[in-house]
């Protein structure tokens, strides 16, 4: 897949065919001077070359696993885990560097800015990279400890490809490159989703793939429309061009931007495009569903990036139309997700609806397009990713011990390690529902604080508070029928499921919950950091100058 990237370096042309020769020669001349200054020893940030490492590391590891280690599971596990840990260290280092506030770019092939492919590292990208890497380590530990990686082939290679796609999507500064990385992460996710096989999972996999292929087609239509108006797909260049668009092109760019938000809404499971999520997540293997917790956040990230940089509410051509559409959709998403928690009859399905509901809360914060709203959205992103992943792992722990009862939300004889798993579920459910004292409560508080001045304030507050209550009832009902009613129907009885007590799955789940606790304890510094990120996000000129150079 990486082989297709250099072909994009052909984007040495952002001019439409109508341009005259003079313009071309000027552009070419401009390009050569830029290359010359870069080659003549302009100070290159030492971080610059490391930006591509989060993409390259998994991209190199994955083929090695397929080619050299395909018959040696132990070697695959060691390298996969080492890769994930190295990625986490790398991401943390890049985040420490990005915290200083400067935006670093990496030009592939040293093509000057609007022409070549570009990777950009700012605080938002660094945060999402760290979140992904931080999530991937416990998920991998769980997959190894629960032997999920033995139930099919190439789990670890697919996992690395998935990380490559996600990291690339967070780093790229080019809209078409975003599409390419979306495809990389999707094609890996198709493989992971049907890992282990089985009739139900295959069927759910077909639905997932078809839905996302339609989404990819829509993405291309959106990019084509935007390119036809602006003649560029570099995000910083787009931001400049869209801001100064002639009035006659406003209609076309609105169509393009609207198509684009639909694509990101598919990824972010925003109503009415959320239908793929419950079936996919509830049929995916437990650790894969936990990793997918970050996939919906890619949609949120893309909306945050594109609609603060390219189409901010101050754009004359588009105005506030995206905020106006996002907010009602987010409110309905929140309601549907939380009501789904009450209505679900299967545990994995219930957790999937919880994931949809958390996306609703997240999009409410994003739809404000204010620094406070963005900061709240970022805090809630980290919280909801960790909480949803923990819930999916706990679901898998429970289902694996319930034998033929599976994930059905009804009483069954007591399971092995019932007390421990019930306690973990209790903590994760409190965090997801948004009850004090965990980070879910703080996250929702931040979102509510950020929406205090919004025109639809009472709708937002009402929706968040009422749906929180609904989700508390839903989780309480599920938890009591899964873990508490066992003694009522079979006193002292136990399920005759093989008594396995592997430690690693609990370590993995504990790591995610510890992350939630840390997010709560260090809420002050974390929100301060998120506010800095939100401020940087709204400072469009800093991003544009960092990418395009001083004009």
């Amino acid at each position: 897949m990486i082989a297709t990237l250099p072909s994009l370096a052909l984007s040495s042309l952002t001019l439409t065919a109508s341009a005259a020769t003079e313009a071309v020669s000027q552009a070419a001349g401009h390009a050569t001077t830029q290359v010359a200054t870069a080659a003549a020893g302009a100070p290159v940030d030492p971080v610059s070359h490391w930006i591509i490492a989060p993409v390259l590391l998994p991209a190199v590891l994955a083929p090695l696993m397929v080619l050299l280690m395909r018959f040696d599971l132990l070697l695959q596990r060691v390298f996969s885990l080492a890769g994930a840990v190295a990625l986490a260290g790398l991401a943390a280092w890049l985040m420490a560097d990005a915290s200083t506030g400067h935006i670093v770019d990496y030009r592939l092939g040293n093509w000057p800015a609007p022409f070549g492919i570009i990777l950009v590292l700012d605080r938002l990208s660094a945060l999402m990279l760290t979140l992904t890497a931080g999530l991937s380590v416990p998920v991998l530990l769980y997959a190894i400890g629960s032997n999920w990686d033995t139930r099919g082939r190439h789990f670890h290679a697919l996992f690395q490809f998935q990380l490559m796609g996600i990291n690339g999507a967070f780093l790229t500064g080019d809209a078409f490159n975003l599409f390419v990385f979306f495809e990389v992460l999707l094609i890996a996710s198709y493989g992971l989703m049907i890992h282990g096989g089985g009739a139900e999972r295959m069927k759910a996999g077909v639905q997932y793939v078809v839905f996302n292929l339609a989404g990819s087609t829509l993405f291309l239509f959106a990019l084509g429309t935007i390119y036809s108006v602006t003649g560029t797909l570099n995000m910083a260049d787009l931001a400049e061009k869209v801001a100064h668009l002639p009035a006659g092109d406003a209609g076309l760019i609105r169509v393009g931007a609207m198509l684009l938000i639909l694509v990101f809404a598919v990824k972010g499971a925003l109503v009415p495009l959320q239908f793929w999520l419950p079936n996919t997540y509830s049929h995916a293997p437990g650790p894969v569903a936990a990793l997918f917790a970050v996939m919906t956040k890619i949609g949120a990230y893309a909306i945050l990036r594109v609609y603060t940089l390219i189409f901010p509410p101050t754009t004359p051509a588009t105005g506030t139309m995206f905020a106006d559409i996002l907010l009602p959709a987010a409110l309905v998403t929140l309601a549907i997700g939380m009501i789904g928690i009450m209505g679900a009859k299967q545990m994995a399905r219930m957790v999937s609806f919880a994931a949809i509901g958390s996306m609703g809360t997240l999009f409410i914060a994003i739809a404000q397009f204010t620094p406070a709203g963005n900061a709240a959205a970022l805090y809630y992103t980290v919280h909801s990713t960790l909480a949803a992943a923990a819930l999916f792992l706990i679901t898998d722990l429970t289902i694996a011990r319930r034998g033929e009862f599976g994930g059905a939300l009804r009483a069954a004889p007591k399971i092995t390690q019932s007390g421990l798993i019930a306690a973990l579920f209790f903590v994760a459910a409190i965090a997801t529902a948004g009850m004090p004292p965990l980070s879910g409560f703080l996250g929702k508080l931040l979102v509510m604080q950020a929406t205090w001045n919004a025109p639809l304030r009472w709708w937002i507050w009402g929706a968040i508070l009422v749906t929180s209550l609904i989700s508390i009832v839903g989780f309480a009902r599920a938890g009591s029928s899964l873990y508490w009613k066992a003694n009522a129907i079979a006193p002292g009885g136990r399920l005759s499921v093989p008594e396995e007590r592997p430690l690693l799955p609990f370590v993995a789940t504990g790591m995610l919950l510890a992350g939630l606790v840390a997010l709560t304890v260090f809420a002050g510094p974390v929100t301060h950091w998120m506010q800095g990120t939100a401020t940087q996000l709204l400072d469009r000129t800093a991003y544009i100058t960092a990418v395009l150079g001083h004009r």
Partner: protein, 136 residues
Amino acid sequence: MELLVASAVGLMSAAGIYLVLRLRTFPVILGLAMLSYAVNLFLFATGRIVVGEPAILSLHLNHYTDPLPQALVLTAIVISFGMTALVVMLSLGAYLETGNDRIDMVDEVEKPQIDPEHMPAPSAPERHPAGQEPQR
């Protein structure tokens, strides 16, 4: 020329959308292929339609066609080709596993509850609860 390209994109999209909404996997895959043809043609047109000109920049040329959409189309073709191959294999796998090629799933509510005392008849296809693997 514009009319021809525009109506071709429109017709293929319409056919693609109609086919994607079918209930069997085969028409759905054909529909996705149709949609990807439509989008490839559409991407070509985004660089404006120019006939018989080179896609290369040169100082001696006054007219040329925009090469960027062609690079985009190339990438899009490669990706959609791979994706189509994948979805064909996946649907074949689902067909062989479940014995039918319907795209929709049995609803959660209609699905027979799995009860240890009333296990499904042995002749019925083997069912596993969501996320549950057969015990090794």
